[in-house]
């Protein structure tokens, strides 16, 4: 799997992502710069977490207007696989590669804690190594993760099976009105979504921070191992 990681000024989880991709795929990803106007040959583009352009104005707004986003858009339109995590998810929504927007957390504070995600769909490159209904741990680290979209948009996402992950509590209970289950107040507890062709995925939590047994847990591995299986053709 040839993966590229986009670095914007202010990106800060590119090394985490690089480490995870390397560990799971056995191959070092290529670092891409926000000003790049062409792409090397890639199977997967990752927009990692951080504070691109300081998260000033709105999280992800300025990143979405970077030169490289034109390339990412073209890549996605050609059917390429794109993963956006945290700030990367915010950028994908700002660039309208994914619907909706990420508002300030309902509690108005940055959230850095373990989140628990339930896998909502199985037949995608991003979720194939889980079973539908599986619950796994993934650290949250964001101030603006409160997913919002119009009711019509939300219905469409659900109707097209495009909700990838939902927040649940550690025991697996889904309760959108309860902060213990849905920490940032996202509508319908949505933590991650997919594009219509299921090849662009955005999620707020950080599976890339739970891949190394030496650091305590490997809950995040299936995201990457699934991609490797799908993309090592």
């Amino acid at each position: 799997m040839k993966a590229g990681i986009v670095v914007f000024p202010g990106t800060n989880r590119e090394r985490d992502m690089e480490q995870a991709l390397r560990l799971v795929s056995g191959k070092a990803p290529t670092m891409l710069w926000h000003r790049d106007t062409s792409l090397p040959d890639l199977d997967l583009i990752v927009l990692p977490g951080g504070f691109s352009f300081g998260d000033y104005l709105r999280s992800g707004a300025m990143g979405a207007h970077s030169p490289i986003l034109r390339e990412v858009r073209a890549f996605a339109e050609r059917g390429g696989y794109v993963l956006g995590v945290c700030n990367g998810f915010q950028i994908l929504t700002e660039a309208q590669l994914l619907p909706g927007a990420l508002l300030r957390n309902a509690g108005m504070r940055f959230l850095s804690q373990d989140g628990f995600l339930r896998v909502e769909t199985q037949d995608t490159a991003f979720t194939r190594d889980w079973a539908k209904g599986d619950v796994f741990r993934a650290p949250l680290a964001h101030g603006d993760g409160n997913y919002t979209a119009s009711e019509a948009e939300l219905d469409r996402l659900e109707g097209e099976d495009r909700v990838a992950f939902r927040y649940v509590c550690a025991q697996g209970t889904l309760d959108a009105a309860n902060r213990l289950s849905n920490p940032n107040g996202s509508q319908r507890s949505i933590a991650g979504i997919l594009s219509a062709n299921k090849r662009v995925c955005g999620l707020m939590p950080h599976p890339e921070n739970l891949v190394d047994p030496d650091l305590g847990a490997t809950d995040g591995v299936p995201l990457f191992s699934g991609l490797v299986k799908s993309l090592v053709a």
């Binding site: 104005l57 709105r58 707004a61 300025m62 207007h65 929504t93 700002e94 309208q96 619907p99 909706g100 927007a101 508002l103 300030r104 957390n105 309902a106 509690g107 108005m108 409160n146 919002t148 979209a149 107040g185």
Partner: protein, 80 residues
């Protein structure tokens, strides 16, 4: 010429910041406060003397960058 671009969340989009401020004001004893909405104000110096041009440019900048039209509305005015 200076313009001001005001960006507010659309009617119907939940405004957690506004809600939090409303609650805090109530705790402080301001009992008669109803809905609170929070937005951003941007003041931009534009090198032009033409009001219409400045407004049109403000509108273009808002559409392209300053506002996210999925969730926000905006208004542009000349302030100086």
């Amino acid at each position: 010429m200076k313009i001001r671009v005001n960006v507010m969340l659309k009617e119907g989009v939940l405004d957690p910041q506004g809600k939090a401020i409303g609650h805090a004001l109530e705790v402080l004893g301001f009992a008669n406060v109803g809905e609170v909405r929070v937005g951003k104000t941007m003041e931009l110096e534009i090198a032009t003397d033409d009001r219409e041009k400045a407004l049109a440019q403000g509108e273009a900048m808002a559409r392209e960058l300053l506002a996210n039209l999925v969730i926000e509305d905006f208004a542009v005015e000349v302030v100086g």
